[in-house]
Amino acid sequence: MAKKRIIQAINDGLMEEMARDPKVILFGEDVEISLFGDTRGLHSKFGPARVRNTPISENLLTGMAVGAAAAGYRVIAHLMFGNFVYTGFDSIANQAAKLRFMTGGQIRLPITYMAVYGGGKSIAAQHSDTPYPLLMNLGGINVVVPSSPADAKGLLKAAIRNDNPTFFLQAGGRGGELGEVPDGEYVTPLGQADVKRIGTDVTIVAIGAMVRPALRAAEILEKESGLSAEVVDPRTLVPLDEATILASVAKTGRLVVADEARDRCSAASHIAAIVCDKGFASLAAPVKRVTVPDVAMPYAPSLEQSIFPDAQRIAAAVREVAQYRRS
């Protein structure tokens, strides 16, 4: 085990996969110098054939990933910010998500699209979106949202080795987070949630960057009233480990979902719907969602903080469901 920052763990994962498989190639905007540090050093290590800066042409690069993958490569396409999913969306939604299906399974599309997502950095609405709800709705795209350095590395390696288009979305504000990363080779399978904290009274399902404030909220509540919250990190939204979420709710009877997507059609509302459908008998209280309201992310830090989910808001939601009694 070694303590690493999440961005370093991602960089290690990319280094290892490119060294392991010569068919892995990477292109995108500024990947050579690397704005975030995740792709730094790859160009000098693996050369200009396999690691390429592209122009700011998202529609081309998202589609080029599809063509190169169909022609036998394992492609990593870096889109920089989650908002740029929209400028490259045709090839993601109409090609990557559908070509395997439309060709009756002839095409294998091992693509990892990388981008950072989320608010909290005062870079305003066009660089702060959380685009996974619309990616989840496409059907043919896996969605990976790691919360820790260890998960980020293991899940990234699984994404690269997966034969389907996969979005690897890392919370932009968390690149500096430290965590223990196992030594040596490991892969974290897609579709397996991780219980980050065991508890008995309330389940908090926390997505990506919401795991840390969810854990903090659990600590606050424990100290404050002895309330025991369980924190479940789905780690991947597609495929979604429904069983682990339902098992936790079966134990606690109460659920809060923390998600930094806008509320309407968020991952939180999808998870809430699944639990209401498949876990209704175990619910002792309504399901609460802690999300961003249906507005764009404001710029001023004070305004951003006024709407962003944090430990206090998650704790407040947990108190509410914990105190709920059927009248």
Partner: protein, 336 residues
């Protein structure tokens, strides 16, 4: 287009000449039948016919092998057959059958055979441009001289991705050939009403060769494609070919029902272009040159018609697809 890199002008041998004519005729006869079956209500969905444009697909694909890639348009039957796709599997696909090339998951607008380098027809105008740029990148990395060819229409020239691909293709010297089939109409709008300048000239600022050719002359297409594909195989980068042509059928079959009496082109114009039919022109030329005679042509047509008849019989008697494949095809190795 001048061929600067070969001393002798390229020649097409007799067998290849006859082969090209036969392939054009196959596309024509399959599509004539598709038109009839559509009219009779026997096809699900709609069909966009390539009738009148066959010389382009055939003249280009004559230079390609299975390891080369193509992507095509919503009007893609001709490219599929020209690249060596199986007529039985194509017709069965259009009928929505289990034996279809895409197991009934794609239909007319999405016929694809990856094993033959056919990335597929595509329902999104211009989408093939980025797909072939990616396939060209793969071919470049493989280093075995394969190329990627994108067929797209004049309508796709209005998509920004063409400029994006010319830019990256030129920078990276991708083995990419962009073949614009300018049939004069962007669906139901005259191409010149929505297209400024000449499409081939879009290549100029990127330092990419661009040429306007007669798409109804299969030999002119063959010659231009020969230069472009050789250039791509050598590692000298992309070429943009604008092949001028015309679709003598509608944007989609039975379009008159949708247009409700509205008209976007004159019958006189259609008749004029029928007089420049690429198959009539080429078979006439081969007869004048003594390569074939009327009897050979008749035998060829009989052979093609038998193939077409067999393909439709195969499709009609094929089973419907299994419902389970809807859930099996979305992902490789996992359920949706």
């Amino acid at each position: 287009m001048k061929n600067a890199h070969t001393d002798t002008p390229p020649r097409i041998d007799r067998a290849q000449s006859i082969g090209m004519l036969e392939r054009m005729l196959l596309i024509r006869r399959v599509e004539e039948r598709l038109g009839e079956e559509f009219k009779a209500g026997n096809l699900p969905g709609g069909v966009h016919l390539y009738i009148g444009e066959e010389g382009i697909a055939v003249g280009v694909c004559a230079h390609l092998t299975d390891r080369d890639w193509i992507a095509s348009t919503h009007r893609g039957h001709g490219h599929f057959l020209a690249k060596g796709g199986d007529p039985n599997a194509m017709v069965a696909e259009i009928y929505g059958r289990k034996t279809g090339i895409c197991r009934g998951m794609g239909g007319s607008m999405h016929v694809a055979d990856v094993s033959k380098g056919i990335l597929g027809a595509n329902g999104i105008v211009g989408a093939g441009i980025s797909l072939t740029a990616g396939a060209a990148l793969a071919a470049q990395l493989d280093g075995k001289g394969a190329v990627a060819v994108c067929f797209f229409g004049d309508g796709a020239a209005g998509q920004g991705v063409l400029m994006e691909a010319l830019n990256v293709g030129a920078l990276w010297k991708l083995p990419l050939v962009l073949v614009c089939e300018n049939n004069g109409y962007s669906e139901y709008t005259r191409a010149d009403a929505v297209t400024a300048g000449t499409i081939a000239d879009r290549a100029k600022p990127y330092g990419v060769p661009g040429a306007v050719i007669n798409g109804n002359d299969v030999i002119e297409v063959w010659t231009a494609a020969d230069v472009a594909i050789k250039r791509a195989r050598r590692g000298d980068g992309p070429t943009l070919i604008e092949a001028r042509t015309y679709r003598t059928r509608g944007h989609i079959e039975a379009e008159t029902a949708f247009l409700q009496g509205g008209s976007y082109r004159s019958q006189e114009e259609i008749e004029q272009w029928k007089g420049r039919d690429p198959i009539v022109l080429y078979s006439g030329r081969l007869q004048a040159d003594g390569v074939i005679d009327a009897q050979v042509l008749e035998q060829m047509d009989a052979r093609v018609c038998a193939t077409v008849q067999a393909a439709f019989e195969f499709a009609e008697k094929s089973e419907l697809p299994d419902v389970s494949q809807v859930f099996e095809s979305m992902f490789a190795g996992q359920r949706p």
